[in-house]
Symmetry: C2
Subunit: 592 residues, 2 copies
Amino acid sequence: MPIYTPPQKDMEFILHDVLKVHESTTPGYNELEPDFTGAILEEAAKIARDVMAPLNEVGDREGCTLENGVVRTPTGFQDAFDTLREGGWTGLDCDPEYGGQGMPYVLNAAVGEMQAGANMSLNMYPGLTHGAYSAIHAHASDTLKTKFLPKMVTCEWTGTMNLTEPHCGTDLGLLRTKAEPQDDGSYKLTGQKIFISAGEHDMAENIIHLVLAKIPGGPEGVKGISLFIVPKFLVKEDGTLGARNGVACGNLEEKMGIHGNSTCVMNFDDAEGYLVGEAHNGLRAMFTMMNEARVGVGLQGLSQAQAAYSNAVEYARDRLQGRAVTGTENPEGPADPLIVHPDIRRALMDQKAFIEAGRAFLLWGATMIDAHHRSDDKAANGLVSLLTPVMKGFLTDKGFECTVQAQQVFGGHGYIEEQGMSQFVRDARITMIYEGANGVQALDLVGRKLASGGGKNVMAFFELIKGFIKENETNEVLKDDFLAPLKAASKDLQAASMFFMQHGMKDPNAALAGSTDFLHLFGHTCLGLMWAQMAKAAQESLDAGTADEKFMQNKLVTGRYYMQRLLPETGLRLARIMSGAAPVMALAAEDF
Amino acid sequence: MPIYTPPQKDMEFILHDVLKVHESTTPGYNELEPDFTGAILEEAAKIARDVMAPLNEVGDREGCTLENGVVRTPTGFQDAFDTLREGGWTGLDCDPEYGGQGMPYVLNAAVGEMQAGANMSLNMYPGLTHGAYSAIHAHASDTLKTKFLPKMVTCEWTGTMNLTEPHCGTDLGLLRTKAEPQDDGSYKLTGQKIFISAGEHDMAENIIHLVLAKIPGGPEGVKGISLFIVPKFLVKEDGTLGARNGVACGNLEEKMGIHGNSTCVMNFDDAEGYLVGEAHNGLRAMFTMMNEARVGVGLQGLSQAQAAYSNAVEYARDRLQGRAVTGTENPEGPADPLIVHPDIRRALMDQKAFIEAGRAFLLWGATMIDAHHRSDDKAANGLVSLLTPVMKGFLTDKGFECTVQAQQVFGGHGYIEEQGMSQFVRDARITMIYEGANGVQALDLVGRKLASGGGKNVMAFFELIKGFIKENETNEVLKDDFLAPLKAASKDLQAASMFFMQHGMKDPNAALAGSTDFLHLFGHTCLGLMWAQMAKAAQESLDAGTADEKFMQNKLVTGRYYMQRLLPETGLRLARIMSGAAPVMALAAEDF
């Protein structure tokens, strides 16, 4: 059975050596002293490794079952969920006014990677609750907040997001679920939603559904969408549970992975619901959930890569097969361990170099989300909005690739379910799809985020890179190995952005045909920047005479691998982008 | 449920317009007139589509079951297998002396793609039998051939390959299965083999296991390996079945995919076996199986890509979601079909451009195998030996990628098992692993095949490209769009080969660190060559006033896509290769 190795030390390096969160002026960050974050991460690591990870395979094997409208979760999930609740983990960064611990999101993100890495299916129950919490917190009336949030912060009640319908996923303008206004100000919702994660289960007293629906007579398309709270059990004035509401799970989907999470068809039949925010303005509220969820999904993709990678490393060290081509390295044994073979190392280095920079990228993004929420930093908000589709799309595409590479290290054993590597691949696969398939992320990036505010966010990103390079141009360790390739990647990204600006207005297809390539080009540039910053931090630490010399040296080694072998992909992506719309659009639909 | 769309027309184009098999001097190719191959492919297409494909999902869902040593295959498999047997499909290219139809392998390869694409798990039963047939046919005594081959040609008896043991897969020198010589010239085999596809099942009267084992007292390591025939039931002098032999299925593996094929742990306990070829020379005989199996696995990878792709195309045409950015294309409907969106087209074109050239590559390889077998063409044999790891490794890496991209087109629906796209991904995944994991293919290519015969095979490949470019340099259609990018790719491949030659002797890790990149660089160059040849054939057909103008025009369009957007990957691969061993080998094993 796979083990889970929490990347605590690496997280601490990113938080304190690279991002220097404890020196940040963001309100609340003064709490984030190394001792404090260390203690939190240590506890989180224990729970992830000892409580959640052992149930990962159980969840995959047993899955969820539906009987007479009741969904049963896998053996042990309830107990593990209780452990998370009792430790206050579900409300780590929630508003203290509603019972949360009020810690910065960046810390929650680090904890979240561990929890998702240990057991993604289980972690989705509190994860979706958090998304629903955020949307209610940001958009609902005080009455609704007071009524629902305290129990959601503790996960006594869990939350869901009900967007997709059988005939529409991305194109929400087509949705048909209706919300009829009632005399008392509430609504009656009727319709069917599909792919509802944690839509029904046996681990919470109540389930608070956030549902997109249309109020009859409203505007056509997405402008007529409103957001509603629809609880599974109605909640009485005194906060106790009343009658069962008109919402039920009609079916459970058989999926490729995340078997431990219940993916439900939800039927709403005159279900009582309460409007969140203004009527016909549901899309805005939904994007509060979606943006948070997208960063969270990027985190999931990364987390599966990390979990799979650490198992592949163990296997490569233990499994004896063949001899090193440069001479036996294990003369006592019948063969050398796999890790002596260059191609196995290449696969492991690919994963390691991606994972460590991907983690830095996500935690950096999290600091910007905190800066936005805690000090209304508009520049940070602009930049993280731009980067959100990159975090989601790039980190999940690459995260999935890593799980496949990790599985590959196991040879035939990787294909056997018992070994557990298949589950990482199957679970990671959904991260490329849900909360907006990665093609939709690319479209969001190129079609919306890039030009938003006249392109000021992408300009800020380029300035950031330029500033970093300028600031460190005399640093001999960084100069050739990190700054030069970063500059080249940034140049490729600028050329691609310029190409879109020049052609996009006349021929939008010219931009969209290159959107996935642009997302990857952008992602690589971000990770290149992260490696340059990590290299700088590692070198500073070495210069200061750190006791952890080897750890810091290895950062430089891994960073150089990324810059030399992975970052040059930006050139290929640019070449594809510059080929424009013609090759992509030339064939008639009937000729495929 | 997915459909299977046999790519018959495309196969005919490759066979007759591109490879011009009917004009070849290879013995037996004179049979391959367009009418004849058309009729065979038409029949094969019917069986693939109507008999095999409908059972694909059944096989995945039901899997195989083991009870009291008996393995039951999924519902309907037996009947479908009987249809294949009765139609003579199992012996299409087998030796007429043993009841085969004696047709060229190239035709069998085309038929094989259809059969694997329709139902990979089912097709593995006759597929493995064919591999065992070939090894026996090439290496066993006439007595053994006469005894076993006729029933294997008809698949009344099926075959297996028993190589892997729990502690060794790639490193066969470690194997422990023992073969004790008996007075009557037979052997008694004892040991355990794992991952034995079709090792036990209920669809054949007898199962003929080919088993690698060591005769006590023989040389150490791979030089002490011998190959044996071990039938499930002993065969009497008169050809009827005798006693059950000492071989049994100990367990069935739970796998990520190919559930319809039984993957067995096989226990040999004083099982009677017969030596194939010479003692201690089993590796050579095994490679007869392996080389055939590797081409076959490349075919499987391609077949899954084709099957997944054609379903993705259907879905992209049918599913209405969003509007074309350049203006509504389906004004009557609530939304436009997915296929209007550039990023969906990009995904489909990636698949299409790979699949069509991959198919040409495999069928070209098959003509070289025929030339070797039918007219002892040593140059053809040399070249196809060089290309075999590329066919296996590159086509399965990319084939798997295509299934993932095809699944992605379905969005959330692609993740639901009912839709069938997950199965293509899960089934295709094994092709990157078995018959030598793709890292082992890369090692074989760089460490063995490249330098074999002083590098004459790779030189022949370069000459072939050079000759083609020279011969067509005044062709205006080919010149800029096809020849120039092919030349650039070929230059990259030459530079990489040169780098390996210069550094490989001094530092073998410098070559091996780039082996997977080299395999992909080589694969892209091969597919670039295929597209150049297909473009030439299409243009010739257009110039000759073909009635199928659109089909030929579309070949040019798809080829240009490959040359512009996919082939430039060779530059990135070369850059990685040139970075040498240092980045890959720098980290100590304990520092991963």
